[in-house]
């Protein structure tokens, strides 16, 4: 036997942004609780409106399964007290026990529970522990701070299993079948029959309980209104969801505003409409912003919406005239005059004012151009743009809409006739803002943007304000990522930083590369070389390495390298010892205390050193040994030259020539020869392999 369960938690208006998560949380907590009791619904459906969270659990068994549990008791030969204790524990009599091979066993049947009882316990527990991002107390009960918390005052609870009310109470609110319809369109109460009729009964009371349906209505109607007006809706899924979260009976309505307002920058109008008023924005066939808006009412107004459209139009007009006033006011002052006021704004108590920062950025931007680091820019323009880039912070418009910083500066710069390169740089100098944002490529913009971010990083590191853990109050991680993106996108060659700040860059670069899908061990292998402050070179290395290890040559060279490195490690061979080629092949006793200059006086030692320098030991080489030495002699200078020319593919190609000789060497030559001279020479060959390869990247960090 199964039945459908309906739960509705009705309260005062739930913030639109919280509804989706709350709906998911309710479903999750409900299934968890049920699972603990051994129950599972066939399907869960969740609904959310501004005034209710609802959940329907389809095909819920009406009772939990009977379970039998077996307990092992004392031996039958045990003293009577033990048996008595066991009977007390199990609640059975002796004749209900089983004697199995001299041990008492009790089988206790745990009868199934009515699902209604499980729900009556579960629901209040879920409500009391519900994870709202912000919750509150209210009413008489709030005399105690321990009273129930909910997102807004909880008004009523519907809980029906089949057609029966599941009896429970939460802080004085008894579960019932009665709920409310639309706040204005329906007076009185709605007595819900069952889960099956819930949505339909609410619809009759002017409530569309399914958020997805409300979204569809809003989108379809808004598009239709736009089309009727010969316009096009600018799609905005977030706004559709927000309006669906603000209405139980959504009715989109189209209104107009005075086209004279269109002289204000379109971004300002869009922000005013979307953020302040939650209106949809429209454009004409040519793609230009239209003097129209669509608001979403929560009623079918008696007058068809005329008063609502008129009222909203009036509110919008007041807001747009504020915006136009700011726009005109701000334009009366030149940006350089606005910029003077930056001396009144503290950037950071230890770092002076914004004007001080602007001064530093202007110098740095100029330097970046003059040094040829940013090419194709005019140094005067870079400096000018940097000096004006922050000026819009003191304008009325940015005071009202902080998210328009930069953008407004760009508009004001153009309005006063500054060159496009300068206006663009002012507009875009905050970019890129995080991963995925557009990275500037216009030279003046690049100079200003990089200078601004580098200055921020250097300044905060200088006063030891570094990000720790999740704390990054000055968004330095984002600034570093911005620098990395600017440098790599534009191929800028500069020593980016030193000391702690360089390490910080290295960390950010690792994160960025990992997120871009580069294997972290390859990144580590390149970073392990250390001291690299040229990000472009560093990434070229990573890139070359990534493609190289993907090839057969790369994989085999890596295998050869690892074998060589392992032997060296096992033999604890540092490659510093000089193998001797004395007649008795004894070599010089190595104590580690010899004065190398003393050793040079010895003709035999000098000879051996000579051999070593030429890379040719004195003993008769096996063919694979000779081939490896030849290959090393050929590859090393090629790899070095390629490295120096930053041709890392070339360096790796040179190393790849070692692959076959290394394989052959391991195939036919015994490194640990009984002759210490041979052994030493061979170990040194391995050392050369390791050293040659490590000039490109620390292969020991590469996995596989």
């Amino acid at each position: 036997m199964s039945a459908d369960f309906l739960l509705e938690l009705r309260c005062e208006e739930i913030p639109a942004r919280m509804q989706a998560k709350a709906s998911e949380d309710l479903a999750r907590l409900f299934s968890d609780r049920l699972a603990e009791a051994g129950l599972k619904a066939g399907k869960l459906t969740s609904y959310a409106t501004p005034r209710r969270l609802a959940l329907i659990a389809h095909d819920l068994p009406v009772a939990t399964q009977t379970v039998s549990e077996e307990f092992k008791g004392p031996r039958t030969s045990a003293p009577p007290q033990a048996l008595e204790g066991f009977l007390r524990k199990t609640g059975l009599t002796q004749d209900q026990l089983e004697d199995r091979d001299g041990v008492w066993f009790a089988v206790v049947e745990k009868p199934g529970r009515a699902t209604a009882n499980v729900l009556a316990e579960a629901i209040p527990a879920i409500v009391r522990a519900f994870p709202w991002p912000k919750s509150m107390r209210w009413g008489d009960a709030s005399l105690s701070t321990e009273s129930l918390r909910w997102v807004r005052p909880l008004q009523g609870v519907v809980a029906l299993l089949g057609e029966e009310i599941v009896p429970f109470e939460i802080e004085g609110i008894a579960a019932d079948r009665v709920t409310a319809g639309h706040r204005f369109h329906f007076e009185g109460r709605v007595a819900i029959t069952s889960a099956a009729t819930y949505a339909q009964q609410l619809r009759a009371a002017h409530v569309i309980v399914d958020q997805a349906e409300r979204r569809v209505i809003i989108e379809a109607r808004a598009n239709a209104l736009a089309a009727e007006a010969g316009l096009e809706l600018i799609p905005d899924a977030g706004l559709v969801a927000e309006n669906a979260g603000l209405t139980e009976w959504p009715v989109p309505l189209l209104g107009r505003f005075d086209p004279a307002f269109l002289e204000v920058p379109p971004e300002v109008i869009q922000l005013t409409l979307r953020i302040n008023q939650k209106y949809f924005v429209l454009r004409d066939k040519a793609g230009a912003l239209a003097n129209a808006f669509i608001c979403t009412a929560n009623i079918e107004a008696k007058d068809g919406g005329a008063a609502i459209v008129a009222g909203n139009g009036k509110v919008l007009a007041a807001r747009l005239s504020d915006a136009r006033f700011f726009w005109e006011q701000d334009k009366k002052t030149r940006l350089e005059d606005h910029a003077r006021k930056l001396a009144r704004i503290t950037f950071h108590e230890k770092l002076g004012t914004v004007a001080d920062k602007v001064e530093r950025v202007a110098k740095l931007a100029r330097w970046l151009v003059e040094q040829g680091i940013v090419q194709g820019a005019d140094a005067d323009q870079a400096e000018q743009a940097a000096r004006l880039a922050k000026a819009d912070l003191v304008t009325e418009m940015v005071g009202e809409f902080p998210e328009l910083q930069g953008l407004m500066g760009g508009y004001y710069a153009r309005a006063e006739g500054l060159p496009d390169a300068v206006a663009d740089a002012i507009r875009d100098h905050y970019k890129p803002v995080g991963q995925g944002d557009e990275v500037p490529t216009a030279p003046v913009t690049v100079a200003v943007s990089l200078a601004d971010k580098l200055d921020t990083l250097r300044s905060f590191f200088a006063i030891d304000e570094k990000p720790t853990g999740s704390r990054d109050p000055f968004a330095l991680r984002r600034a570093a990522l911005g620098c990395i993106q600017l440098v790599t996108t534009n191929g800028l060659r500069l020593p980016i930083a030193e000391g702690d700040l360089l390490d910080f860059f290295a960390d950010r670069l690792k994160v960025q590369q990992r997120e871009a899908g580069v294997r972290h061990d390859l990144i580590d292998a390149v970073f392990a070389l250390g001291g690299e402050d040229d990000l472009v070179r560093l990434l070229a290395r990573v890139k070359a390495l990534q493609s190289f290890v993907g090839t057969d040559d790369g994989a085999n060279l890596l295998a050869g390298y690892k074998r060589a490195a392992n032997i060296l490690k096992k033999e604890n061979w540092e490659g510093e010892r000089v193998p001797m080629a004395t007649p008795d092949s004894q070599g010089i006793a190595q104590t580690g205390e010899e004065d190398p200059l003393v050793a040079l006086d010895d003709a035999a030692v000098a000879g051996a050193l000579q051999d070593h320098a030429s890379g040719r030991p004195a003993y008769a080489l096996e063919p694979a040994e000779a081939a490896l030495l030849d290959a090393l002699d050929a590859a090393e200078p090629r790899a070095d030259a390629a490295n120096a020319a930053e041709d890392f593919e070339g360096a790796m190609a040179a190393l790849a020539t070692l692959r076959a000789p290394i394989d052959a060497f391991f195939e036919s030559v015994t490194v640990n020869d009984a002759d210490p001279a041979k052994r030493g020479c061979r170990l040194n060959m391995l050392t050369r392999i390791r050293a040659a390869v490590n000039k490109v990247a620390d292969f020991s960090r590469i996995e596989g």
Partner: protein
């Protein structure tokens, strides 16, 4: 009920209607507090009465001063001196939303013609050490009321919670009367040969002169001194166990700070520090008020 289109209320009739309505709900109708405050919430009938376990229901009009909002009487919507209508009900009644909607109907707003919405807006007053959850109430896209369930005041949990409604009277009246500038609001109705007066006729000169004083004339040296004097007097009041008097000094300091802001002599850093000093006074007053009443935190 008549819709606003047929018989829009005058400004004073709007106030009288709200008074009648809330008086009928059992609210004490108080007169405005006689000091300069930035909002109706500063009235001790809200700030201090929101604390403590006893029931408290009242309504009043509070003239509010926000020096930086002054526009010399030229902006159609902004005023440095305006009126708030404040209702406070403690404990918050279970039907507070319905009571509120009833007040809108009483002033002629038909919720089947006008779109009334409760849009999330959590309230926080750093200077009062207070916060609450609630909404801004929209009427056809315009915010007409702030609706808040106080959770803390002066840093203390509200036990029980009070519900607070703050109506922006000029804005509401402009909407009801369908005028675009506050100047044109009909303050009263003509009676016989005595003509109706506009809001502008009553207050325009005040906006012009006070804007000038706030922005240009006020002697900042004196203002800084007054702020310090308020702090000193506040300390003396706390020491003398007169928290109501201490709170008045906090209110005074708060307004002096607002004037200093309007004069543009407080830097960004100093701003935080001054706000902190006002908050300390407000919180200290609340604490002393709790103590003298014998209420546990």
């Amino acid at each position: 009920m008549q819709d606003i289109a047929s018989a829009p209320l005058s400004f004073q009739q709007l106030i009288l209607t709200l008074h009648d309505y809330w008086a009928a709900q059992g609210c004490v109708i108080l007169q405005p507090f006689d000091m300069e405050v930035g909002a109706g919430t500063f009235h001790p009938a809200t700030t201090l009465r929101a604390l403590g376990p006893d029931s408290w229901n009242c309504a009043y009009v509070q003239p509010s001063r926000r020096p930086t909002d002054g526009r010399y009487g030229e902006n159609p919507n902004r005023l440095q001196h305006y009126y708030q209508y404040q209702v406070i009900m403690k404990p918050s009644p279970p039907d507070l939303q319905e009571l509120y909607l009833g007040s809108l109907k009483a002033i002629g707003i038909d919720p089947l013609v006008h779109d009334i919405r409760f849009v999330e807006d959590d309230w926080e007053s750093p200077t009062l050490g207070a916060w609450g959850l609630g909404w801004e109430v929209w009427c056809d896209g315009m915010e007409v009321t702030q609706f808040t369930y106080f959770q803390q005041m002066g840093g203390f949990d509200c036990k029980p919670v009070a519900g607070e409604l703050t109506y922006g009277l000029e804005r509401l009246a402009m909407y009801i009367q369908g005028v675009d500038r506050y100047h044109d609001l009909r303050f009263n109705d003509a009676v016989g040969n005595r003509p109706a007066v506009t809001y502008g006729e009553v207050f325009l000169a005040n906006e012009q002169q006070m804007s000038k004083w706030n922005f240009e004339v006020a002697d900042t040296e004196k203002l800084f001194r007054w702020f310090k004097d308020c702090e000193a007097e506040y300390e003396a009041c706390v020491a003398a166990d007169v928290p109501l008097a201490a709170y008045e000094q906090a209110i005074k300091a708060s307004h002096v700070f607002n004037l200093l802001q309007a004069r543009g002599v407080i830097s960004v850093q100093e701003r935080a520090s001054y706000m902190g000093r006002v908050r300390d006074m407000a919180k200290g007053s609340c604490e002393a008020w709790m103590k003298i009443n014998g209420w546990a935190a």
